[in-house]
Symmetry: C2
Subunit: 343 residues, 2 copies
Amino acid sequence: MKIALDAMGGDYAPQAAIRGAKEALESYPGVRLIIVGKTDVLDPLLAENGLKGHERVELVHAEETVLMSDTSTVAIKSKKDSSITVAATLVKEGRAGAVVSAGHTGAAVAATTVKMRLLDGVDRPAIAAIMPSEKGPFVLIDAGANIDSKPINLIQFAVMGDVYAQTALGMKNPRVGLLSIGEEDIKGNGLTKEVFKKLSEMPINFIGNVEGKVIFQRYADVVVCDGFVGNVLLKSSESLAKATMHWIKEAFSRNTYRIAGALLAKEAFKELKEIGDYEGYGGAPLLGVDGVCIIGHGSSSPKAFKNAIRVADESVKVKLNSRICEKLVESGALPGSFKPNQG
Amino acid sequence: MKIALDAMGGDYAPQAAIRGAKEALESYPGVRLIIVGKTDVLDPLLAENGLKGHERVELVHAEETVLMSDTSTVAIKSKKDSSITVAATLVKEGRAGAVVSAGHTGAAVAATTVKMRLLDGVDRPAIAAIMPSEKGPFVLIDAGANIDSKPINLIQFAVMGDVYAQTALGMKNPRVGLLSIGEEDIKGNGLTKEVFKKLSEMPINFIGNVEGKVIFQRYADVVVCDGFVGNVLLKSSESLAKATMHWIKEAFSRNTYRIAGALLAKEAFKELKEIGDYEGYGGAPLLGVDGVCIIGHGSSSPKAFKNAIRVADESVKVKLNSRICEKLVESGALPGSFKPNQG
C-alpha cells in the first residue's frame, strides 16, 4: 500500500518533505510513496535527492497549494487541485492507503473529510496527539481538528482516543478523562457538563474530569477536549518546553562552576531535549476519517516527515478504523443514540 | 486600610493562612488584617502563632466554609455566612479595603460580585495571572473567573489586562493579543472571530491573534482568553513545569558524571525552580470588582499567603480601578456601545 505525501505542506516544505521522503525510503524498505505537489518545483528536488525514477516513488502533479492564510472552506472550495486535496483523492480512489500532510490543518481535515469521507456514524474527526508526562505518554484528543465542538463530538473523541491508546500505546483499559476546570462533575463549561454524564454511562474507563494541574503527571491516559482548547494546550506546552530549554541554558552558563557542571552532565541535556521532541512522534493521526491521515507538525523537519511516514505505514497495518467503528456501536456513541440533555 | 483574609480557603487552610498572616505582619509594618473564619478553629491557631491580641489583627467569625465540591451558586445562596462572603461583606461595608482568598475560585468571584458589586459598565470580572516567559512576565486574562464568556467579556478583559500590565508590570503600551489557534483574523472559534474586529478598533496596542506556540516567548504582553481556556493554560503550565523538574532530577541522577555536574551547578537548579514559583507572585487580582480581591493559588503555602497579602496591599494603593473605568469608557468597551456582529 502506498502513502500519499503532501509535499507542499509545512513551514519548510517542499525541501523538508522530500528529504524526509528520502530518509523514509532508506529506513523502511516496505514503504512506497506518491509524492504530491507542483511537478516543476518537485522534479529538481527529487533529482537532487536521488529520488528521480526511484522504483518506490511516484510523482503526482497538483497545481495549487493551500496557504496558511486561507480559510479551510476557501482552501477546499476554490483550490480543488491543491496538493492536500489531490493526496486525499488518491486515497479515495484506492491508489494510496494513507495521506501525510504537515500543511494547513483545517484544509487537511476538510479535504480528507470530503474526499475520503468519515467512518460510519462519526460526526467529526479528531487529531490524537501523543504527549509526554512524568509517567510516560498520554493521548490528547482533539488536538485541533475542530473548534466549537458539540457534545456528540467529545463523546466520540473519547471512544476514538480509548481505541487509539490501546492500539498505538498498547494500554489495557486506558483511563479516559474529560479536560475541565474542576474535578467534580458540576465543574466545567456548558459543553463538558453535558458530556460528563454520557461518558459515565459508557463502556470505557471514564475517570471523570481531569484538570490542567495534573495533566503532565498522567492522571488520565486519554484526555478529551474541544480542538480549540486542545490546540492551545498542545502548542503552549511546546512553547513552554522551548522557554524552559532557554532558561536552562541561561542558568547553566551563569558562572564557571555551572558551565563545568553542564559539561559533566551534557548527556542529561540531550535526554531532556528528547522528551518533548515532536520529531520522534512524527505526526498525529486524524481519527474518524475512512482511511489513514497523519497530520505532521507545521515546523516538520526531514526527520519529522520521515517519522510521519512511518506512523502512516504502521497505522495502515493495525486496522484501527474497524476497531473504532465497533467500539462506537458498542458504546452507544452514535449520533442517533445520543439525545442532548436526556442522558 | 485593612485587608480581609479568608482564613478558611485553600488546600492547607487555615494553618497556611494564619502562618502567612504572621509572616506578612512581620514583613510589612503597614499591613492590618481582619482574619475571617470559624473562631473556635482560628483562636487556638492565632494563639499558637503569637497573633492573639495582636494590635494589627482583628478576628471576625464566619460560621460556614465553602467546600471545593460546592457549586458557586450553592456556595453563595445557601452559605450566606461563609468566610468568603463575610470577607467580601467587610469590604462592602468599608471596614476593609481588600479581600484575599485561596479558596473556591467560583465562590470568591460570586461573593465579591454580589457583595462588592462590579465597576460601572463591567459585565464580568476576570482573573489576571502573571506568567513567566523567555523575555519576562506577561499577563494572562481571564485565568479562570468565567466560563462560556461572551464577546463583550473578552473585549473588557483586554482593556483591564492592558491597564493592569501598565500598572502592575510598568509596561508602556503593552502588546495585547487574543489567544487563538491561528494568526489570521479568520482563524479561531466563534467567540474569538467576533472579538477580533472590535479589538482592532480600540485604543489599545492590539497585535491580533496570538497562538499557543509563541506564548512563552512573549509575543504578546497581555494574552486575552475565556476563563476555561485560560485556566487550562495556567494549570497545565504548572503541571508541565512540575514534570520538567521531575525529568531534570531523573536525567541528572542517571550516573556519576551527571550527579557531579548537578552538584557543581546546584545553584542553577534553584534559579530554574524560582522561575515558575507561583508563591512569589502571591496571588492574582480579580479585576472588574469594585474593590480589591486577590485570588490565591489553591495550594497556597504560608509564603504564598504572605505575598498575596502584599499584592492586596499594593493594589489598594495604585488606584487600578479608576484607571480601568476611564479606559473602558475611552475604548468604547461598555456593554451598550458594543453590538455583536455590527462591529
